[in-house]
Symmetry: C2
Subunit: 154 residues, 2 copies
């Protein structure tokens, strides 16, 4: 199976497959004479697993941990449980944060009844006031498994 067919079966872009190989999530397959990647069924399974985890918003390092655990099939799976619990904790925390955010946005939105001059707009006035608790630097965030950036159609 060449990369195009693997990608079609997994319903993901070809570039993503190559990216996961470079990122060390998908093992490098053997190559054909023309230097084409040649995949076996195991690769398709592994790719499906990775995509499933991504659809659950896990980060690539988290998925790597899971894959490493799976590659030691005899070992006990408590680390997997813990990883999932932690990930669920991240999701819950993010939900709470967004709810607080939405409440604040709603209260700001309520300050403008519409169609005034910008200079008198209650929204603008409210936004000009000082912000709430400072946010954390983003470089530390990358270690976690729930994305913040929105997707298309969001």
């Amino acid at each position: 199976m060449r990369i195009g067919e693997l990608a079609r079966r997994a319903d993901c872009p070809v570039e993503t497959v190559r990216y996961y190989e470079k990122a060390g999530l998908l093992p490098a397959p053997r190559r054909s004479g023309a230097n084409y990647r040649s995949y076996a069924a195991g690769h398709a399974e592994r790719l499906a697993f990775i995509l499933r985890c991504r659809s659950l918003d896990m980060s690539l390092p988290e998925i790597r941990s899971l894959l490493e655990a799976i590659d030691r099939p005899g070992a006990d799976c408590s680390g997997i449980d813990a990883l999932l619990d932690e990930h669920i904790g991240h999701v819950s925390a993010r939900i709470l944060e967004l709810k607080r955010l939405r409440a604040e946005l709603a209260s700001i939105r309520a300050r403008c009844a519409g169609a005034k001059a910008t200079a008198e707009c209650g929204i603008v006035k409210t936004l000009a006031r000082s912000r709430a608790a400072p946010r954390e630097p983003s470089h530390v965030a990358a270690a976690h498994g729930v994305a913040r950036r929105a997707r298309k159609g969001f």
Copy 2:
């Protein structure tokens, strides 16, 4: 006021101030003889406004729109209202998405009672099954104003 004091007052890193200038959000201040940036009170206000909007998870393009509206103080503010409504919609949609996600994660988590061998772990087995509805490409997402990536401590 030099950049260090402006940043201290706004409680944000100096690099961020320079970044906002380069991004066209904060007007370039005049320079001292030694080519140091020299800020006035208006800059501090504007920076505070930007940071407040960021703390509400608005994207830089969204904030730019708001600033442009504010810079036309006579015009009517319906565009501002609409922008806020749209942003609130993004936040709500993301909350819904994360709740669905959390429910799915919880059901996966429930499949493992703990301390089995990885090969028998119900979580691993469930994750190996095919994923739900495919996700949208991320490059389109950047247009929106609610971040997906987590922060430190998240």
